[in-house]
């Protein structure tokens, strides 16, 4: 009994931190309509900055709390700087660009933090005056956690007062509803939004700095917390402070007790909880329908053209690619094999985004599921390569079938969050189910059959399978299936009214894209000889998005061009530096701000303006 009470209390302490971070995220979303992926980065840097300050000044209670406050304020300033430098330019962009742009910041901050504080985990000192524990029904409970538990409701109350009892709060609420009208009344929305980012990021920094006495400060904190905060915000209802509070409490308890019952899969529990809540209450526990605006279309709806000679061009390209082994060495072939695999991966995501308007933030789930499927078949069943390769799209397709049923129920940001949640489920299974997946060590020794062991042979195999699948995907795009998808993307209601079951087609597309990504994953596993949980992690999903975006969303050829450029950049340029995250992050931000139409879009834009000038 007393043990359960202490467990519940520690759940409350977790909930308090979760609420501090999520409240900032939900406030920023409520006002700017941007889901800020970099929110966790402010938490992490807040913890690092807090650690440094506490090491130096944290010997006395005043010094400790002063350090925590200073770290929070510093994060607020950084958040305001990000609003001015980046977010301001993204308010009118499709959410894909907003998510990607802020993810670019995540990467940049990761490298800058590693540069400033080093790669080692840091252990901070305990809070002076709160080092001990008190007995609750004869069970010891840390005093510091008790303070945290009190802090949650305190911050909620203060935020409520700020938004409901001050002029600034009133202006923010007004600008949230109607920015243009507020500005016509003399309110400068830009300054208001900068202030909101200050507040939101300061809350994240506060959450981070408060962790210093409780747990090690690490470079992984950012992604861990931001994904949990996403769940809290989505479960609570996007933009709702009280909802975030309630959801934090529930998820804190879920984690505290989940770890007793299913210690291996606590993360899975959290994401399943989110999926269930979203199906039962589409706008979250306390969210309101109108809180989420009609989402900006993810794509500029340019009709795809079949292009007169595309078929012959594709065949010529294929022949050219097939001839490469006659001249190229092993290294080039390995590289090219990977490019071809990634092209299929990107093209499968493009099917969802370009045709369906469905921005998936967890496409790596299917790539990774295919890779793990092949690897497990080889490792645990001794399956030969052809069978293991055939298993990859099947397993990924089945996974996508289940996840897709949930995901296509929602569109826009919620779809992105749901796909992210399912990818995180897959990732946490690969990461936590040590006995089967080997956890962090992955699965090694996944080599091709002897007939395909040569670099050229495996390259040809890859080319044939990927080429064939790409051809199928392209056929699907111009078949009635593809037209139905596009009709659903451009006007869901109109498509429904002429009898197209949009959701069903989206579900089919989800499964098709998942299977294709799964095949790519299986091929990747044999190309590399090993699989690791990173194949299912968020950065892998983002890689796919970047490839699609680099190539340009509007064209079918875009993802292919994107895969080539991105992979060469990643393996040839970024491998030259230890700071590849910094480079990649900056590339993503530049892409989002400067070349939103991608390489192919940029080139065809150049061409058409050239043609116009000559005409």
């Amino acid at each position: 009994m007393s043990f359960l009470l202490v467990q519940a209390l520690s759940g409350l302490a977790t909930a308090a931190t979760l609420f501090l971070v999520s409240s900032g995220l939900t406030i920023v979303f409520g006002v700017t309509r941007i889901v800020n992926f970099a929110h966790g980065s402010f938490y992490m840097v807040g913890a690092y900055a807090g650690w440094s300050l506490i090491e130096r000044f944290g010997g006395t209670p005043a010094g400790f709390w002063g350090s925590v406050t200073a770290a929070a304020l510093a994060m607020g300033v950084l958040g305001a700087a990000m609003e001015i430098g980046l977010l301001r330019r993204l308010y009118r962009s499709p959410e894909l660009f907003q998510l990607l742009g802020t993810f670019g910041v995540v990467l940049v901050v990761q490298d800058l933090t590693a540069w400033a504080w080093g790669p080692e985990d840091l252990l901070g000192r305990r809070a002076p005056g709160l080092k001990g524990s008190i007995d609750i029904l004869d069970q010891p409970f840390p005093l510091y956690d008790l303070v945290l538990i009190g802090l949650g409701p305190l911050v909620l109350g203060l935020l409520w007062l700020l938004f409901n009892r001050t002029r600034w709060g009133t202006l923010v609420r007004a600008a949230t509803q109607d920015r243009e009208m507020a500005s016509a009344l003399g309110v400068d929305p830009a300054r208001l939004f900068t202030g909101v980012l200050f507040l939101g990021c300061a809350l994240a920094g506060l959450g981070g700095a408060l962790q210093v006495p409780r747990e090690a400060v690490t470079l992984q904190m950012d992604m861990a917390i931001v994904v949990e905060a996403f769940v809290v915000v989505v479960v609570g209802g996007m933009g709702s402070l009280a909802g975030a509070f309630l959801a934090s409490l529930l998820i804190g308890q879920l984690q505290a007790f989940g770890i007793l019952v299913f210690p291996q899969i606590t993360l899975v529990l959290v994401f399943l909880f989110m999926a269930v809540v979203l199906v039962l209450r589409p706008h979250g526990l306390l969210g309101r329908a109108e809180e989420v605006p009609p989402t900006a279309p993810a794509t500029v709806t340019v009709p795809l053209s079949t292009g007169g000679h595309t078929g012959s061009w594709a065949l010529a390209l294929l022949a050219l690619l097939a001839a490469v082994p006659l001249v190229a060495g092993d290294y080039a072939l390995i590289l090219l094999t990977e490019v071809v695999i990634l092209a299929l991966f990107a093209a499968s995501l493009h099917l969802l985004i370009g045709l369906g308007g469905l921005v998936s933030f967890g496409h790596a789930a299917w790539f990774g599921l295919g890779a793990y499927g092949s690897a497990l078949l080889v490792k645990h069943m001794g399956a030969p390569m052809p069978l293991a390769l055939a298993g990859a799209p099947v397993l990924a397709g089945l996974g996508a079938l289940v996840a897709g049923w949930f995901c296509v129920r929602r569109s826009g940001l919620y779809f992105a969050m749901l796909t992210l949640a399912f990818a995180q489920i897959a990732w946490s299974i690969a990461f936590q189910w040590y006995a089967v997946t080997g956890g962090d060590n992955g699965i090694l020794g996944v080599w091709p059959s002897s007939w395909a062991a040569g670099k050229a042979a495996y390259y040809w195999l890859t080319l044939a399978l990927c080429g064939g699948t790409l051809w199928l995907l392209r056929r699907a795009a111009f078949a009635p299936f593809g037209y139905a998808l596009r009709a659903g993307r451009d006007s869901g209601l109109r498509a429904e009214s002429v009898g197209i079951d949009v959701r069903r087609f989206q579900w089919m597309a989800f499964v098709l894209a998942g299977s294709a990504a799964g095949l790519a994953g299986g091929l990747y596993a044999f190309a590399k000889g090993s699989v690791f949980p990173t194949l299912l992690a968020v950065p892998q999903s983002v890689d796919a998005l970047v490839m699609v975006l680099m190539g340009g969303i509007q064209t079918v050829a875009g993802p292919l061009a994107g895969a080539v450029v991105f992979h060469l950049l990643k393996s040839e340029v970024m491998s030259l530096t230890d700071w590849w995250r910094l480079v990649l992050g900056l590339i993503i931000v530049a892409l989002v701000l400067v070349f939103p139409r991608g390489i192919v879009g940029f080139l065809s834009g150049l061409r058409s303006s050239f043609v116009r000038r000559r005409a």
């Binding site: 509803q177 016509a184 009344l185 003399g186």
Partner: protein, 237 residues
């Protein structure tokens, strides 16, 4: 004669690629009420929005109180003393009446009447009874009063009123006309867009008639009432 409070010349405005306004020109003198008239889609709303800096793209000579407005964003224009009352009301529905007024509040301005919530509640007694009520639970007429009151909280010297009588019951229309006359008496200048001749003739000194984004006729309100030809060409439905 001193410079008019507001001078517009050669006003052009676009929505995307659509060229909506082409050469609108008008002036509003101090303490004057000018009616901007024209049929549905003539460009009245767009003219007021363009003055306020609320269209994506515009070009014009725009002078207000000796200042050039043509490069300023909306909030700067508002802070110079231009009050804008949109036709679709756009009250902040989640905010209470008092909070809506608070959003509009700006420091008093020399040369313009200074408003407080109490003075506005005296002008619009209906609003006084619902200070704590949220915008979602107000009638159309009450919302129109609130929109006007909210803009007055900025202590403007020029009011841009977009179709104040549209969709209101006759009794409310009379209250609205009375309010405009009171504001003029307080020294405010008003540019209002109207389709209703009776409302315009009840409050305006001069009129400016536009059609498909171009100026067609300018003169005194009495002159417009006397000119059957102009009314038939540009105003009759």
């Amino acid at each position: 004669m001193s410079e008019p409070l507001l001078t517009i010349d050669g006003l052009q405005a676009w929505y995307g690629r659509a060229h909506i306004l082409d050469g609108i020109a008008l002036t509003v003198g101090r303490g004057e009420v000018v009616a901007l008239m024209g049929r549905n889609g003539a460009g009245k709303t767009t003219t007021l929005k363009a003055i306020m800096g609320l269209v994506e793209r515009r070009a014009a000579t725009l002078r207000f109180d000796g200042r050039d407005l043509s490069a300023l964003p909306a909030h700067r224009i508002a802070r110079l003393g231009v009050g804008y009352v949109p036709e679709d009301r756009r009250i902040f529905a989640d905010l209470t009446v008092e909070e809506n007024l608070e959003v509009g509040r700006q420091p008093p301005r020399p040369g313009a009447p200074a408003w407080t919530p109490e003075k506005l509640f005296a002008l619009f007694p209906n609003l006084a009874e619902m200070r704590g009520r949220r915008g979602t639970r107000m009638s159309g007429g009450e919302q129109q009063m609130l929109t006007l009151a909210r803009t007055l909280m900025g202590n403007p010297s020029l009011l841009l009123l977009d179709e104040p009588s549209e969709g209101l019951a006759p009794l409310i229309v009379r209250q609205m006309a009375e309010a405009v006359r009171r504001l003029k008496a307080e020294g405010l200048s008003v540019l209002l867009s109207e389709q209703s001749l009776s409302f315009a003739s009840a409050v305006a000194d001069r009129a400016c008639v536009i059609e498909t984004g171009r100026p067609r006729w300018t003169g005194t309100m009495t002159g417009l009432m006397a000119d059957d030809g102009v009314r038939a060409a540009y105003l009759a439905v």
